[in-house]
Amino acid sequence: MFLLIFLLIPILAAIILFLVKKESTGNAIAIGAGLLSLFGAVYIITNKTESFDVSWLAAINSRFLLQADGLAKILVLLTAITFPSIFIATNKNHIQNKNSFLGLMLLTQAGLMGVFLAGDALLFYFFWELALIPVYFLCSIWGGEKRIAITFKFFIYTFLGSLLMLIGIVLLYSNTTDHSFLLSSFKNAHLTNAQQLSAFALFFIAFAIKMPIFPLHTWQPDAYEQSPTAVTMVLSAVMVKMGLYGVIRWLLPLFPMAAAAHSNMVITLSVVGILYASFIAIRQDDMKRLIAYSSIAHIGLMSAALFTNTSIGMQGVLVQLFSHGINVLGLWIIADIIEQQTGTRSMKALGGLAKQQPTLAILLVGFAFANIALPLTNAFVGEFLMFNALFQFNPWMAAIAGVSVVLAAIYTLNMVQKIAYGEISQATAKMEMPNNNAQGVLIVLLAIVFITGIYPQPLFNITADTLQQMFVK
């Protein structure tokens, strides 16, 4: 029951937001709902297992089943941290029709929570699509100049992927012995080898587009650049995790044979993607695009580690799901502050931030370290485990992927250098007042970065049961 209420909080808040006219009330409602969800998420994590189960579509035996295991918990926590952080950090930004904007954001949150909590394939699909619809409107209404075409590309791309997944779901459903959509029945479905391979392909394409894995990534940098920054934060901190989540929750447990057969291909594609994205990131001048490409590189490493089929890699990914979200969220908030105050994202035009706003510069350096995965930061824990797994799988792959660490250092430090050091540029001179709200959020996030970097055990504890289920038979 608690999970249902937890899911309804953002939906109800969104409905109220659509009806409320006054902007300051809207802000308060959104932040309140976000914080309420955060408390809810903390409650879910501290309790052992929560689940909610009622019959939904009796005719086809689909159930409205929500359940929180370790994997769901860590992503729910990430989502619950992300949204209030965004609301607080961007609450001074001027946005037209701000209440509708916040309402759509909360609907996205509800969709994402549903995706992570659903234990029934049809319900999962349902939320999977629902999370996309508000984002489509958010990006198309409030995005940059080329928003309509770019968002549409993004929408069609992911919609096509999810439709393919729908066929996969139908295929599995028709082969279950008890005709149900539950994950457990799907696991026991009798599939021939050929069926397993085609179902694997159908699911994989959907998740690969979402993550995105190398040749299917073309929607991403454009979409990140053209979206309003608050939405970009959601997209890169949480939404890409949907793809990784899908792989861990559905793809690997359901098709172990097909996954093992294709692991070489997927890992190769991922590694190619890592290098490709890293090299492009080096050449970027636009802050947003740089962060977007660096994010593709990090996600690529995670998808490679997933397909090594080792418990150490899985553990790394489970931690990194959370850490990557926090780090990239921090970078985006900094990018947003700079863009809001200077009106530019071009790094050439920036410089001297350390003199103009020392606090912000320190925060930037902190998140930059996390982005490079230096020891003591949270990303180090995950990346270390993931490289370890990749090394066990194939040392050459690990070596090639390892180049990306160096490349990450190059583009991230380059960014820090251009933005923070040097003479105060014309653009930077416009940054007169520090944005206290946003800096407060950043300080909290940076604290999470270092605490989980030094003492990651709580994250291991949350996800222990998922790991046990997958690797201890």
Binding site: I60, L163, I167, V170
Partner: protein, 461 residues
């Protein structure tokens, strides 16, 4: 039997109503009341409260599903008339006559849901079609409407000829018009009878495809839907097409049995894929929303044809959901379109700012047509895919269908984009609140069915 008799009587009554009553508003109310009576009469038979029945010598057979389809189509017609009443008045000064025509069409619908004999199929289709030719040409002063009517009439007669020829061949092979399975058993036939039978069945198949506007027999559809008065187009595209489908499914059950599954595994996918291809790809390039919707209705037929693949109890219920979702959404979109001053995509520009409620409604209807979750259209598509897979169709067919579903998102969303993301003044006639409330009813049905499709489906268990 109730529905057939009552609808005929109501049709006759409406024909004479205009003699005594001149107020078109009153005529409209009488028509709506008649519709209500018709629904009650059908409900009475469905629940066996009151049944008119006599021996039809096996011409008609009434079963639960047929009566349930009647009920659904009547309710859809009721909603359609209720929303569009004022617009129907504007077409000419023959309001009562239009309602008479509607009732005659519904008589044809009731025959098509209950025929058990090829002769009754023919009669049903004719009763359904002839009033439609009149409706298409109702706007006498418009050249387009006249052209559409003539075109529809000529093409329709041609396809009726094919239908009759097919029936004659089948009669030659079996010696009966009855649809009972024993006569169609392929094993008991002589070789030359087999030849007649195959020819007859294929001709029947062609003509049914024509009636539901499946490619490559669709050429009349865009011109007729585009030329007909806009208020009548949704009726033709929904209730009439749905009735045609129900008849098609019934005939096809026999066809499949008589010719064997293997023959149809080649023919049917050919029709399905070409229908999806023609409908979707052509819709992408349309400049007029009305014409786009005409092509999209062809595309939707492609999905509905899946129901033919696996004829079973459950698939029948699946097509019911599809019919409801598709019909209501189409009626809704057309109800908005009719308020537009012209039918280009640009006239929707900026609608979200000027009329937020209307824009939201249109979005819900379009989402349902595109099959996006939370609307009935999603489950309609889902059940169709499920029917296809359980019937043993190849995975490739599902993937083709899905690719075209993604294409359909492209042209439906063009309207959404115009409404929400493009600045501009929408070219729209004034819309009063009560009209919007009526549309909300449709939207709410679509949303409720989008979360609980069981409400509709469980009735049949």
């Amino acid at each position: 039997m109730n529905a057939i008799i009552v609808s005929t009587l109501l049709g006759v009554v409406m024909m004479f109503v205009s003699w005594g009553i001149t107020s078109s508003k009153l005529q409209r109310s009488i028509g709506l009341f008649g519709m209500f009576v018709l629904i009650l009469a059908n409900l009475a038979q469905l629940n066996k409260w009151w049944v008119v029945d006599f021996d039809t010598k096996g011409m008609l057979a009434f079963n639960q599903i047929g009566l349930y389809v009647n009920l659904i189509l009547f309710i859809i017609t009721f909603i359609y008339l209720w929303i569009n009443g004022a617009e129907i008045d504007k077409i000419g000064n023959h309001t009562a006559d239009y309602y008479a025509i509607f009732f005659f069409i519904l008589c044809g619908v009731s025959i098509l849901t209950s025929f058990d004999n090829l002769l009754m199929l023919f009669i049903g289709i004719e009763i359904l079609s002839i009033p439609l030719y009149i409706l298409t040409g109702a706007d006498k002063k418009s050249m387009l409407s006249n052209e559409a009517s003539l075109k529809y009439f000529l093409m329709g007669s041609f396809s009726t000829g094919i239908l009759l020829l097919g029936i004659a061949f089948i009669y030659g092979a079996t010696g009966t018009f009855h649809l009972g399975l024993p006569q169609f058993n392929p094993i008991t036939r002589m070789p030359y009878e087999n030849f007649l039978m195959s020819a007859g069945l294929i001709l029947l198949f062609v003509s049914m495809n024509f009636k539901v506007s499946a490619a490559p027999f669709h050429f009349w559809t865009p011109d007729v839907y585009d030329g007909a008065p806009t208020v009548f187009t949704p009726f033709m595209a929904t209730v009439v097409k749905a009735a045609g489908f129900i008849a098609f499914i019934k005939v096809f059950e026999i066809q499949r049995f008589a010719l064997g599954y293997n023959t149809w595994v080649i023919i049917l996918p050919l029709v399905i894929v070409s229908t999806l291809l023609v409908g979707n790809i052509t819709a992408v390039f349309q400049r007029s929303v009305k014409r786009m919707l005409a092509y999209s209705s062809i595309a939707q037929v492609g999905f509905m044809l899946f129901a033919l693949y696996g004829v079973s109890e459950f698939n029948n219920t699946a097509i019911l959901l599809y019919i409801v979702a598709y019909s209501l959404a189409t009626i809704g979109v057309f109800a908005v379109l009719i308020k537009m001053k012209d039918y280009g995509f640009e006239s929707f520009n900026g609608l979200a700012k000027a009329k937020p409620a209307l824009a939201l409604l249109t979005t819900i209807f379009l989402f349902s047509l595109a099959g996006i979750p939370l609307t009935a259209g999603f489950f309609a598509k889902y059940f169709m895919l499920n029917a296809l897979l359980t019937a043993g169709a190849g995975l490739w067919l599902l993937i083709v269908a899905i690719l075209f579903a993604a294409v359909s998102v492209y042209y439906y969303f063009k309207i959404v984009q115009a409404m929400y993301f493009v600045e501009g003044e929408p070219a729209i006639h004034p819309v009063d609140k009560s009209y919007e409330y009526k549309l909300w009813l449709i939207a709410i049905i679509l949303l409720v069915l989008g979360v609980f499709p069981d409400l509709l489906l469980s009735y049949l268990y």
